[in-house]
Structures are given as C-alpha cells and as structure tokens.
C-alpha cells in the first residue's frame, strides 16, 4: 500500500528582503513518519519550515498540506488548517504573560467550548505526558531550557494535531535532556500517531528518530529520501555532515 502524503512541496522558492533563500525545493513528507529537514547553518531550513507554515510568502511553487493548497487558502481556511498542525518553536515561544497552564490551554480555550475544568484536566494530562505536570502554575520565565521546550511541546500537541512541526527542538540542550526529548518525540509518533516534520542539525537526534531526510545546502535541495539512503549517500556534503556529526556525538 502506498504511503499517504501529508505534505507535498513542489518547486518552492522563497526570497527574504530580495535575497533568494530557497531555490526550487521539492519534497514530500509521509504519514506516521519523522521527516527531518537538515543542513548546515544558513542553509534555509528554518525558512523552509516557516514557508510551509505560511509565515513567509513563497514567490514560486506550491505546498499542499493534508491535500490542501496552502497558498490558495483564505484566512479562515488557513486557520482551520492550523488546527491540524502543532508547531514547536526553537525558543518555545510561550507567552510570557501567561502561566504554563494558561499557555498550553490557549488553543483549547480559544477554539473549543469545553468547560474550564475539562480544559484544565486536558492541560494537566498533556503536561504529565511531557513530564512537567508540576509546572502548571509556573510562568515561562521560571522554567529551565529543557522544561520550556517540554511545555512548548505540550502546547503544540494540545489539540491532538495529525502533524507536528518542530524547529530545532534540541538546540541548547544537554545530551541527557536531548535524549529525553527525542524519546518524547518518538512516543508522540507511536502513541498519538503523529507525523512529525523536524528541522534540526543534531546528528545524534537524527540517528535516533529520523525516517526520512530532506537535506538542504545554500537554499537548494541536495537530497530527499529515506534515512538509510541518506546514510549511504555519496553526496560529499551529506557524507561529511554525518561523519562529523557522528564524531561530535561520540565525543559527547
């Protein structure tokens, strides 16, 4: 049975301030898989993610998410599509004026008519799923880096979205926390059946969780395919990336 495509990117090009950042990118992400977008710093990974999230405008190309043409949706349809996605931002992006509980509850509070008590229960359940149930009443400024990322994941998955986007979730974490975070992401994939699209350059994470690789270099697509194929690729940039990354991981 052919795998179901959840994201289809075709010939996508993006400019920021008149400079080409992404050039003719095409790839697909499939249901139930962890697709990792990787590449060196400045290769356009985060720009690609933000373009897929419609936060940046593409000047060329087409993106289909869950079969819907992203750039042809009106505001209402886009908001509906956003309900199908959870997004985890690099720095967590929790609202500093709200407690962790209020942050995680926000989408439920705004988009459903669930009673407050029920919302609180759902929030506590999600916080315990990411092992920070004690942080319900804390403010983001009172959390450590790892806790902040867990809280951000709890908010991203509060609506049980079929797709979870993560922008460098492991950045700035120690190896133990990184391992726990990877385990958490794998659990989300298996327990909640989520498809995950992740931007990262943490090779140790990629080795643990990736099913599919999209490799960018200077805004161009160098490789798209299964993780095993990426590992055995003879493209010099990819070979070097994994070789050096493994060496760094082995030193940690």
């Amino acid at each position: 049975m052919p795998k179901e495509k959840i994201i289809e990117v075709r010939n996508l090009s993006t400019q920021l301030a008149g400079v080409d950042i992404l050039n003719d990118i095409s790839f697909s992400a499939y249901k139930g898989e962890v697709t990792v977008i990787l590449g060196g710093s400045g290769s356009g990974k985060t720009t690609l993610l933000k373009t897929i999230l419609s936060l940046y405008n593409a000047y060329k190309g087409d993106v289909r998410i869950l079969g819907k043409p992203l750039f042809k949706l009106d505001e209402k349809e886009l908001d509906d599509l956003y309900m199908q996605m959870g997004v985890f931002y690099q720095e967590g992006a929790l609202l500093n004026s709200l407690t962790v509980g209020e942050n995680v509850a926000l989408p439920l509070d705004q988009h459903t008519n669930l009673p407050t008590e029920l919302i609180e229960n759902v929030v506590r359940m999600k916080l315990s799923l990411v092992n920070i149930d004690y942080a319900y009443d804390l403010f983001p400024s009172e959390l450590s880096g790892g806790m902040l990322k867990r809280a951000a994941i709890a908010r991203a998955i509060i609506m049980d979205p079929p797709i979870l986007f993560c922008d460098e979730p492991g950045a700035g974490l120690d190896p133990v926390s990184l391992d726990q975070l990877d385990q958490l992401i794998l659990n989300l994939k298996t327990q909640l059946g989520m498809s995950i699209v992740m931007v990262t350059h943490e090779v140790s994470s990629i080795l643990r969780i990736a099913n599919r690789i999209v490799f960018l270099s200077e805004g161009k697509l160098l490789f798209e395919g299964p993780f095993a194929d990426a590992l055995s690729s003879d493209i010099p940039e990819i070979e070097e990336f994994f070789k050096k990354g493994k060496w760094v991981a082995s030193r940690q």
């Binding site: 936060l55 929790l94 926000l106 989408p107 008519n113």
Partner: protein, 371 residues
C-alpha cells in the same frame, strides 16, 4: 616595457606581457601597489597579460584580493589576464582568500533627484502609510467585532490592560496636571494683574485645561508610559516568535494582543483626562487664591459661567482619539520590529516619537474643527 619599483617590501616589474609581483604583498602595501600597477598599465597595448607570482614570497588576505582586483580591472579593458606561478603557500593563500564565485553585487546607479524622490515617496507610502491604515482597519474591525463576540476574548485581559494603561497612571497624570495647572495660572496671574483683569484667570485656566492641556498632558504621559510599553511588548513577542506561535494556533495577533489594549486604553483615558482637567483646574484655583486673592467660591462661580458642556465633550473626544492613536502607533511599530533586541529599542523610540507627533497633529486638527 620594463619597470621595477620598490615600495617598502613589495615590488613589481613588467616585462613584455608578464607582470611579476615580488617579495611580500600585504595589507599596508597593497593600496599603493595596485595604484602604481594600474597607472603604469593604463597605456598597455598587448591583448594578454600574465600575472606571475613566482617571486612573491608572502601574500596576506588583502594581497590576494588586490591581485584579483588588478586582474578584474584589466579584464574590464578586454585584456585576457592569467595568474601563474607562485609557491605552494602563495597558491594556498590564493585559494583560501579568493572571493567566492557568485553574482557580483550590482553597484547602485545614481538616480536623478526626482527619481529618488519618487522612489522614497513610494517606499514611505507602501511601507508606512498603507501598512498603518491596514493595521488601523484590522484593529477597528476586530474591536467592533469582538464587542459582540465574546468567545475569542481572553478573560480579564481588557481589564488587566485598563489597569496597566489607565489605573497605574493615575498618580503621575494627576500630579503633573495639578502642577501644570498651577504654573499655567501663575504665568498668567502677573500679566492679568497689570491689566486689572484678575478674574479672567478662571476663564484662562479652565478653558486651557479643558480644551488643550488636560487631554494633551494625559496623552503625552500615556504615550510615554504605555505607547512605549505596547511597542516593546509586541516587538518582543515578535522577536521571540510568540506572534508566529499565535498565528499557527489559529489566533489573530491583532485580535489577541492589540484589541484588549485598545479596549483598556479607551476605557480609562477619558477618566484620566477628566482627572487631569479637574486637578489642573484645582492647581489654577490654588494659584488664584494665593496670588490674586480669588477665593475658591468666586473661582467656581466664575467657572460655571465660562465652562460649557461642549468643552467637556470635546475634551473627552480628544482623549479617545489620542488613546486610539497611541495604541495604533505602539502596535504598528511593535509589528514592524526587525533584528532582535536592537530592533526592539529602536521601534520603542520610534513609537513614542510618532505617537506624540500624531497626537499633536490630531490636536491641531480637532482644535480647528471644534472651535
């Protein structure tokens, strides 16, 4: 053609179609060397030139770029230029410090004054005026919409903003208005006494406070206090991706962040203005009593004659317009932030400057309309 010049360490010689670079080519010598070579080759008659590096002992990064610059300049004159020779160390430096191939930057062509003026005007229109009105339309639409649709409102947020913007400013607005009322009356008292027109101090103080000073003092203090904090808060939210997070949760940032601030400001600024008016007049009353022996009773009686209901209404209308401008300007600049922490400081300053300017312009226009 043959020549040999020495400039500190670096020297060169030209022998037929070969330019030899010699000794060390480093940052301090590169400028004069480039100039000398290009001057000498200005009358060069051959079709090709070889830049030979065999006698070059050392070259630094600027030296490499200088060699490339000479090559590029000569190629512009349709010469075919080759770089040859060089020790291993020199070739390595050439590889390391060569400008990477890419699209050459287009040098900005000088435009005529009118073209530049037109481009600037278009830039200001499309990046500022148009965007400001788009935000204004968005804010007004959602403010009106959310009056009737409570579902998307964050519970207690408008009240919270009312406290932050209005209630917390009571002390400063009241104190400043009282002092300005006193000073205003004090400045006028001596002049009025010369003409024996002491009692007109009441008209002057009351009308000045109601018509101009009350709303203006309040607006200036709110712009400085809350306009800046609105811009900084939204800018920080943008820098830390909180606005992106709201958007991808299906929440409109204008509706979620700006509208409660507008509600909070419009709920409180009329009361702050009335407070400023009352305390400003009280300050004037104190001065009138101390300097002109006008008792509070006489002051109030005179005030009843000189003050009309219209003045109070105009004062409140002005305060609402000023409040709206302050929130819109703060939000506008907050959403425009670029480049992290430095950008936050920049937009905060700009927000205060523009909101004060707009408040004064709006005050002038309303002065013309209402009086």
């Amino acid at each position: 053609m043959s020549n040999n010049k020495s400039d500190k360490n670096t020297s060169y010689s030209i022998d037929g179609e070969i330019l030899y670079l010699q000794n060390n080519l480093e940052v301090h010598e590169a400028g004069s060397l480039v100039k000398a070579i290009l001057d000498e080759l200005s009358g060069y008659s051959h079709q090709t030139l070889q830049i030979n590096l065999d006698f070059l002992e050392e070259v630094d990064s600027t030296g490499v770029v200088a060699i490339q610059y000479i090559k590029h300049k000569l190629e512009e004159k349709d010469l075919k230029v080759y770089i040859t020779g060089g020790s291993e160390a020199v070739r390595e430096s050439l590889d390391t410090f060569s400008l990477k191939k890419g699209k050459p930057k287009k040098t900005a062509q000088k435009s005529s004054f009118f073209v530049t003026l037109g481009e600037e005007a278009h830039y200001i229109y499309s990046n500022f005026i148009k965007k400001f009105f788009e935000l204004t339309a968005d804010v007004f639409y959602w403010s009106f919409h959310d009056l009737f649709d409570h579902s998307a409102r964050r519970r207690g947020e408008s009240v919270n903003q009312a406290v932050l913007i209005g209630v917390n400013a009571v002390l400063i607005v009241g104190a400043m208005a009282f002092i300005i009322g006193m000073v205003l009356a004090l400045q006028s008292a001596s002049q009025l006494r010369n003409f024996g027109a002491d009692v007109y101090i009441v008209d002057l103080t009351v009308l000045a406070m109601m018509g101009e000073m009350g709303p203006l003092i309040t607006a200036i203090l709110i712009a400085g206090r809350s306009g800046s904090s609105i811009a900084a808060e939204i800018a920080t939210m943008k820098v830390t991706s909180e606005l992106d997070a709201l958007k991808t949760m299906g929440l409109n940032p204008v509706r979620f962040v700006v509208v409660p601030k507008l509600y909070g400001c419009l709920l409180t600024i009329p009361f702050l203005t009335i407070l400023a008016n009352v305390l400003g007049i009280a300050g004037g009353m104190l001065t009138a009593f101390l300097y002109l022996d006008i008792t509070p009773e006489i002051f109030i009686n005179r005030m009843e004659e000189s003050l009309f209901f219209k003045d109070i209404v105009v004062s409140i209308i002005k305060s609402l317009v000023f409040g709206t401008l302050i929130v819109l300007t703060g939000s506008f600049y907050g959403f425009r932030v670029e480049r992290g922490a430095e950008g936050v400081g920049k937009v905060t300053t700009l927000a205060v400057v523009l909101s004060l300017s707009l408040v004064i312009i709006a005050d002038s226009i309303m002065g013309l309309v209402f009086y």
